[in-house]
Symmetry: C2
Subunit: 189 residues, 2 copies
DNA sequence: GTCTATACCCGGATAGAC
DNA sequence: GTCTATCCGGGTATAGAC
């Protein structure tokens, strides 16, 4: 975990890093409902009011957690985009899609927190959102509309999977392939 | 509004219909957080405990609201699929996508409730989910994987729009077009 | 079928002592 | 920087009188 200092984030003292780290663990293990000031304090062996000596409140805490999420996501996608090889057209996009899906399924509560509310861009480290988006934009050849459509497809697949909204026998790998085929036609290989 | 009688739904007495109707209004006007037993009772001019004479609890109420949502959605999509005309390839899919998007944007809180949790299929009127899905499956030529991919694209676009997750200047109509182009290639026109 | 009263959870946040 | 005590709000649900 690493978080850059930023205007809307709490001052990153060592103790604050511990707190944010504990919050991330709590979120990932037990979901957003479990991320309360009381439970977080309990996890740290202190009382809830003590947290307010380090953080302005819960939303500041959430912003810090979200920033960590975007840094980890950006790193994962950059890694996938950097891989070489792959078999034929769509290879780059398929790898990127797999990396995105794996991130979301491995850390579903974090993924939800990152995407279920408006992004507080002014509070995040500058350039972080662009860093996370860059690999996809490059892979589809720089067309921002196509990149947004591909992102929406991936996000929709993930949310419907996480929410258990597909019918019981659905073949999700096949659906991913069917979707990516369409986007790959507009992409640089 | 009309709800079919079904195993997991409350008995549809006239009074229950009033309650479900009021719950739907509360949800659509003020969001999911506003749909509480207290506020619902207040809307109806009674006290919260009185609701439990009609309904087993809140989740039964939500199931009834969701059933109404799927009936309205199915009706809207059947209407869009039934329209004739349209200009060239992708016309059918584009009309269907527009109808789906319009439903979601017009009734965002209902749309969220319908999609943000596992579908309690066994509690809904039999065949209702299939009825809502049929127009899309038919439009993409009967391929269920392609239909799921197209659904995921639409759902992703809608959720990212509702959650205000696209960057400020994003051209969402252009993104819809870019996405639908890919799916239309596999569709019957 | 409605009421009052109530029990029981949960949450975020503050004041002021140490 | 931590504590205790407390305030405020919210929620689902039940018991028992009318």
């Amino acid at each position: 975990m690493s978080v850059a200092e930023a205007p809307g984030l709490p001052p990153l003292t060592p103790r604050v890093r511990e707190i944010v780290s504990a919050a991330l663990a709590l979120l990932e293990e037990h979901g957003a409902e479990a991320l309360t000031m009381r439970r977080l304090a309990e996890q740290l062996g202190i009382r809830a009011p003590s947290l307010y000596k380090h953080l302005a409140g819960k939303s500041e805490l959430e912003t810090a957690v979200i920033a960590v999420g975007f840094e980890d996501l950006a790193t994962a996608l950059e890694g996938a985009a950097g891989e070489t090889g792959g078999r034929g057209p769509g290879g780059g996009l398929a790898r990127l899609g797999s990396a995105y899906r794996e991130f979301a399924l491995a850390r579903p509560h974090l993924y939800r927190l990152m995407n279920e509310r408006p992004l507080a861009r002014e509070l995040l480290p500058p350039g972080l959102e662009d860093r996370a988006a860059a690999p996809l934009v490059a892979t589809v050849g720089g067309d921002p509309d196509l990149a947004r459509a591909a992102w929406a497809f991936a996000h929709g697949m993930i949310m419907l999977e996480l929410n258990d909204r597909f019918p019981p026998g659905a073949d999700l790998d096949a659906a991913w392939q069917a979707g990516l085929r369409g986007f790959a036609r507009g992409a640089i290989q």
